[in-house]
Symmetry: C2
Subunit: 298 residues, 2 copies
């Protein structure tokens, strides 16, 4: 193998939304210099705020983060709106741009022009396949997907999935990087929409939607049944409220399964159109007065 | 409402397999006199052994069971192979006969002849619908399903599901009884094959089978992904090994979903035909040297 750095020195994160901010922070917290790129100074200001909040969360929730390390991570992050500058020294670029195929492809075309030849690109896309983006990167062999979960400091999986043209050594180098930033690498051997986690979550949440739509049981009953049987702290309706019902609806609408699309329409009519979007709106399947479910069906 | 006892005095359990024994014991442990019926003295001898073992498990695992109560429960259980004797004083008969439609119907025909008119019948069937059995009971209004989970002392759900002709007062009386024996009653409002729990579990386990069959990920990877993301102590492959792969296969083969049936055929070829049946056979998706998964994929 030639030309593949086994240890990355500089990491760049494109896009500073919820996941992008968490990935940038976790990478910096793990000791890497990080460059955070976004399209405007306004967005970067928002990102700086988010990263400050993440440092406070780590101080509270992550062992060893208080008393210096959480703050020190912030000092390892640079910010820029200049893509060429962002890419100049990057060994790895993690792309967390909005989940739109055409937009991501455009970003990869531009990135491919300005990044050094050796730079590896990894997409955090939830729903797209690497093969749908690979040719736009100009370096398909150095391109793959690395998908993180929300609340990266607690749910520390990195699902790593190449396309047919990904260099196996590049794949393994990214697996090694995932370990270095404290992730449990999940090696996905073939392209699979939804990777491992969403491939399991989606039919499980669909099944709960069907029980609701068909009038078989209430949200609180469904959740209680699952919690008692599984030992999992939350049932599927609680999880859907947390993810957000608009996201659930979006996934339903692109499903190849007719019943799943019908469930999406049902969800829109009974919840989304009434402003019940889940935790963030204060009501979904449950009403939320604070950060916890009241147990009262919405 | 007339003729419905709100408090049951005597409970009979038909069939003393894994679940029948647990239901008989839990009911006796909750203070009810219980009659356990099975078709032969040999089966009843086996049942007595199982119930002794359950008393030992309760002494270890159930708060307050040690030092008397667990043993006292055994003394509240009578045994008989005579159906008329088993039914004579029963307010409630819980049927836990082998999961075959024709057999269950035959038992209900005989039971309906010998049981007092007021006796309520509840079926613990996992897969059948009450409407498929109701007419054989001779008292469809006093018939419903009450479905328990394995390891009843830990997974204390009782899914209660009537058919269209079940008397709502009977339904509520059985809900009340479930609470009296320490169960969390799960009120299932409409007939649903698989109730709530299996309606959620089946597509979730199917999804894991698809990932395996399609070569996307290994059992240990799938389970790890789910455990980290969900906080549940087990992933789907661990759960399938616990349930037993022959049972998973049986559920696959009767699925209306073509891919689920294909997964069943795959499971048979790669596991069942090789004697890998899950925990009970010492190997399934994992190898078991003791009571725990080694984490080594089978």
């Amino acid at each position: 193998m030639t030309g593949i750095k086994r240890h990355f020195e500089n990491v760049t994160v494109l896009g500073t939304g919820v996941l992008g901010s968490q990935i940038a922070y976790q990478t910096a917290y793990s000791g890497f210099p990080v460059t955070a790129w976004d399209i405007s100074d306004e967005r970067l200001d928002t990102a700086k705020n988010s990263l400050e909040q993440l440092a406070a969360i780590y101080e509270q929730e992550v062992d060893g983060a208080a008393g210096g390390p959480a703050r020190a991570a912030l000092a390892r992050i640079d910010y820029t709106t200049d893509l060429a500058e962002a890419a100049r020294y990057a060994d790895l670029v993690i792309e967390c741009v909005t989940e739109k195929l055409a937009l991501k492809r455009e970003v990869y075309v531009q990135l491919g022009r300005v990044a050094p030849q050796g730079t590896i690109f990894a997409s955090n896309s939830s729903m797209l396949l690497p093969s749908e983006l690979a040719d736009s990167t100009g370096r398909p062999d150095r391109f793959l997907a690395m998908h993180f979960a929300n609340q990266i400091w607690k749910h520390n999986t990195a699902e790593i999935m190449g396309h047919a043209g990904t260099d196996p050594d590049i794949y393994q180098a990214v697996v090694g990087f995932a370990r270095q930033i404290g992730m449990e690498p999940i090696e996905v051997h073939k392209e699979q929409r939804g990777y491992v986690l969403n491939s399991l979550l989606t039919p499980w949440m669909d099944a709960a939607e069907y029980l609701l739509m068909d009038g078989v049981a209430e949200p609180a009953t469904i959740d209680k049944t699952w919690r008692i049987a599984s030992g999992m702290p939350q049932g599927p309706c609680e999880v859907m409220d947390m993810i957000g019902l608009a996201t659930i609806y979006n996934v339903n609408t692109v499903s190849g399964n007719e019943k799943s699309r019908a469930a999406g329409a049902w969800l829109k009519q009974h919840y989304i159109d009434q402003g019940k979007l889940g935790r963030t709106s204060g009501e979904g399947f449950y009403k939320y007065t604070d950060q916890r479910a009241t147990g009262e069906a919405g």
